[in-house]
Subunit: 106 residues, 2 copies
C-alpha cells in the first residue's frame, strides 16, 4: 500500500451530489476527501458512535454543528463528536475541498 498520497490528486466532482473518496482506512480510522461544488450540500446527519473531523483545504463552507452554523475557510478544523448533528454547504464561488476522518471507521 502506498502510505503517502497527494490530496489534490484525489479531488473530484459530481453534478448530482458532492464527491467523496477514501484515502486510507483501518478499523480505527477512515480518512477521505469530500469535495462540494458551489451550492452543493452535505445534508445534516450524525454518527451515533463515531467522532468526525473536517479540515478545510480550500474553499468556504457553512458548517452546521448541532444548532450552530459556522462559516469556515481554508485552515479550519471542524470537530463533530459522536451524536452531534453536522453538515456543510459550499457557500463560496469555488470548490470546497475537505480532508475528513471518521473514528472508528464506519
Amino acid at each position: 500500500m502506498d502510505l503517502v498520497k497527494q490530496l489534490d490528486e484525489h479531488v473530484g466532482s459530481r453534478a448530482e451530489k458532492f464527491y467523496k473518496t477514501t484515502l486510507f482506512r483501518s478499523d480505527a480510522l477512515m480518512l477521505g476527501v469530500n469535495c462540494l461544488e458551489p451550492g452543493q450540500v452535505q445534508k445534516p446527519h450524525d454518527h451515533a458512535d463515531q467522532d468526525k473531523f473536517y479540515y478545510v483545504v480550500a474553499g468556504n463552507g457553512r458548517f452546521q454543528l448541532a444548532d450552530q452554523y459556522i462559516t469556515a475557510g481554508a485552515g479550519a478544523v471542524v470537530w463533530a463528536p459522536a451524536g452531534v448533528i453536522h453538515g456543510v454547504e459550499n457557500i463560496g464561488d469555488g470548490r470546497l475541498t475537505l480532508l475528513m476522518g471518521i473514528a472508528p471507521a464506519p
Copy 2:
C-alpha cells in the same frame, strides 16, 4: 467546547524539540498540530495499537515509514498504520506544519 479551530492559531515553536499541541480529543481520535523548525526531527517510533496520519499543511518533510524514506510537501497525506515505525525531519527552509491524528487516542 469550541468545535471549530483555525489551525494557524495553534502553531508554535520550541528551540529544544519540535512543538506539538492537541486540537481535539476523544477516546476514538486525538487531533493535533506538530511544528518542526528547519532541521528538527520527530524521532522514529511506533504505536503498537494506534493508526496515525499526518497532513502536511506547509513546509517540506522527509518522512520515514518502516524502511522507506519519502519527501513530502504541502498537501501530502501520510499514513502510519499501527506497528509501522515512523518519523519525520524538516528538510526545508521554513517551518514544517503538520495536522496529525492518532486513532484510538493515546
